[in-house]
Symmetry: D2
Subunit: 294 residues, 4 copies
């Protein structure tokens, strides 16, 4: 999509005068050409959020010379500004290829969709590893030439097996964990290892129908619309910060089986959108809510 290398700053800090000015002044002084800037002020919380993206290389900015700071000095130089305004910030580069591990169980619709996006080059990402608590999808992993680790988890083996998974994720140098209908609850402890780096898809319009059988509950309640929700995983099941949701209209004609069938399309779409937003460094988490830059 974007061929030119760019840098991205995600900033949050207490609301105060002069923040945008300070950041844009910093970029201008180093010859930075802003290609996208979005800010949000949460007046109730007194909090300020900002995402700014600027070009790095000379050619892109039409002969104007490119950003004057080398990549590895940007963060330390910006820290001076950040400290003045009590900013927390993340610095990302668009050219970074993030490494994802997919977690699955038996359902394949989400993983099929994610693999297709990677395989077709739609997403500039790597998928070196698939983890599952069931062996069923190993052949699919093999089709795509991806390592598949079957790690069964029982009540008794949970701690031990999760430790093994953490070890694997380190070995594979994984940036992002995507739970593509992984039907196994991750422990609190596991989650704390990867804050805002585990994305799950829940097959309901949260907070309606938390728990295991949302389509059954939706059918039982007779709702006219069902949904799917993608969120960062925290220790609180189904309670993490929501990244994306989508819904579709259903009717009395839809049996539970029909809801499940139609829901699969929702789930894969919502999960893909959430992962895409994360990969684009467009998500900030603040007090269990997300700011999704556009």
């Amino acid at each position: 999509m974007k061929n030119e290398a760019s840098a991205i700053l995600l900033i949050s800090c207490p609301d105060q005068q002069g923040i945008v000015c300070a950041v844009t002044d910093f970029l201008m002084r180093h010859n930075g050409n802003i290609i996208d800037l979005e800010q949000h002020t949460d007046t109730k919380e007194g909090a300020f959020f900002m995402r700014v993206e600027w070009e790095l290389d000379p050619k892109a900015s039409g002969g104007a010379g490119g950003f004057a700071l080398p990549r590895d000095q940007i963060s330390s130089m910006f820290r001076l500004i950040a400290e003045c305004h009590q900013m927390e910030y993340e610095l990302h580069f668009s050219e970074t290829r993030q490494r994802m591990a997919l977690f699955v169980s038996k359902s394949s619709h989400c993983i099929h969709d994610l693999l297709a996006r990677w395989h077709s080059g739609e997403w500039n990402t790597s998928i070196p590893l698939i983890v599952s608590n069931h062996p069923d999808l190993e052949p699919l992993a093999k089709m795509y030439g991806i390592d598949f680790e079957w790690i069964e988890i029982t009540q008794e083996t949970k701690a031990e097996q999760e430790a093994k998974i953490i070890q694997l994720l380190k070995e594979y140098n994984i940036d992002l964990l995507v739970l593509a209908r992984y039907m196994q609850i991750l422990s609190d402890d596991f989650c704390t290892h990867f804050p805002n780096r585990i994305i799950n898809i829940h097959h309901s319009f949260l907070p309606a129908f938390v728990g295991a059988k949302p389509y059954h509950s939706a059918h039982q309640r007779g709702v006219k619309i069902v949904g799917a929700t993608s969120h960062y995983v925290t220790g609180d099941l189904d309670e993490g910060p929501i990244i994306e949701q989508e819904v579709m209209r259903v009717s009395h004609k839809d049996s539970v089986e029909s809801l499940i069938r139609k829901g699969r399309d929702l789930e894969k779409m919502v999960l893909a959108r959430a992962v895409w937003a994360h990969l684009q460094n467009k998500v900030l988490v603040y007090k269990n809510r997300t700011i999704i830059f556009n």
Copy 2:
């Protein structure tokens, strides 16, 4: 819309062979021209539902003579068929002008919308009465020349005041009660007087965010979509059969105030659609769920 007089049968019964055949045979034997037929079988419940609408008058069916039974004999004649198949049924006539009472408090967006539909002739209905627990909207009622009854309700006066309302509804010969953001909970006893004849609008996508301040809760949870729900009122608050729902996309940019503002448009649209479906005799209730014929 439809100028021709038609009759409508709403039928529910245990699923069994030959029901459609029996009903359509009955209509054919009396020269009935079907203009709409929709059936639904709930195989899990073993239940059958049907709505059939047919022309009554000669001219409409192109000289073919019209339905052979006079209006006041249809029900008794159909009863013979119904009893064979353990059917429950309702018979309606499209020419009937239903009489609605609107219940309001202080918010006017829903009532404004309903009054406009009536006033412009979009809906073939009567609105002879507006009931409120606050006096604020009396001027609006007067603008439209509609009687306005201000009936305050406190914990202590509830039984007495509800009795007064029931008396009023009888006097005005009301068919349908529409709670257009009426911020007063009706007692169990009151509800049982009007089964499937009270329609409420709840300002959330039920069953998410039941209760009093759904937009605050939605904001707090950080959802990306909010909704509104219209349902028949039963003794269980926010738990009655859902007739219609609609949603809209929101973002971190929406404050609670913004959700409330945008939500008004959802609420009035959803309530209007639910009332319209009811007025068209397109709603059947079965085990706290609705079948909405198309």
Copy 3:
């Protein structure tokens, strides 16, 4: 989804009294248990349409014996009824596994999605053949073990190459042709070989933006919503009967590239829904419009 064998009749005829009665009477006389019946009367056209589905096997109807006619006699027996009412009808069996050929060029998002549905068993269909005017997607076909035929087409070779394709489709015994972003216009003559059996996906909300570069046109016009359209292919480019459409909201922030990227998700979803409706025998074509039973 549905394990039980069922039969489906799709009927269209001039509107007249007694049609539903005649059809349901036929089924009842042969002990047919209807599981779905939907009818539509187009009063303006004076045309009647109906889809009825009933169980075939004994066990399904709870010991009631099953449909009394053998599969191969249903059509000839029903013909007597059909002739009385000038019906055109199609008889289908749910157990039939339709054979699809996919037509592609270079884009893989639609074919990836269709293959995943087949491979995961979501769709009870066969995909024995992929045809393309480019060699690019042959590796993908091989991954799934499907025959791939690269058939280049130029102005000069069109007639000859289309004849070759027709020959292939016969050899592979293909029921349905799915153009999954096949960037080659089929000749009038080719289309007439497969009436209502070629499904295409067009990357705009038809009839807006016909032709080759709809996302560029949409961007140029500054629309706030873009769409995708799936339709049966006729000799008139982009003018065949529409089966399904879907849209999504866009903004001034979306470049042409962004529209193309987002549009891919629309396209694959819309195409899949259209093919699914066709596979379920839920589509009737009448005067270049479709009736889509629910």
Copy 4:
């Protein structure tokens, strides 16, 4: 909604480094507390757009003193910045109550909706005048106590009558003209008097179905989705910059009459959203397209 007084700058200029910095520096130097800032760079056009809103009064900014420039000096002070960067800009104040004239013919659904928003205080606007080429809606205007001018227009009287309307708009000091299903084409000359100040609602999803009978055309084509479009009026009929669009799903069951009935709800919603965006000073027009700030 927002009680605090704020100022809004809408800016467009050739894309270049340092614009955000220059604007925010200007605000900071005068003690301006930014409450919203959104920018957009159209890289293809080499154009930059920005909307910034900041607080004016002391109390709002928590004792910080308020914006240091008096309202009537802001524009002239900002001009210095603007000229350095070849900016075009508009300065607005949130406390300004815009004056709208509504143009109608016979349909009342849009005007009913707009009047309700004004009457209930949802919109902080004035509606002193309703203009119509038919007398039908005069009683409605009277109900709301608004002046109603019946100005018939024929081919022959058009120039003269439009002159009369322009005169009226001047007398009433009208800021914004809203064509709420006004079935009369305004002349090129008339339009040039009110650039980006006339908002129309067209009852189709433009550019599909331009012209007079879009629902008939939509029905004829058999589309599965219909829409409505609100746009600024220019001399080119139905070709002005699109502000807002919305769609809804329809089916073969919808007759033309049913499309018209359902479409009314779309039309009034889309028109209201477009007018609201305009009233909030969130719309910029560039080369016949709109930038809609969020």
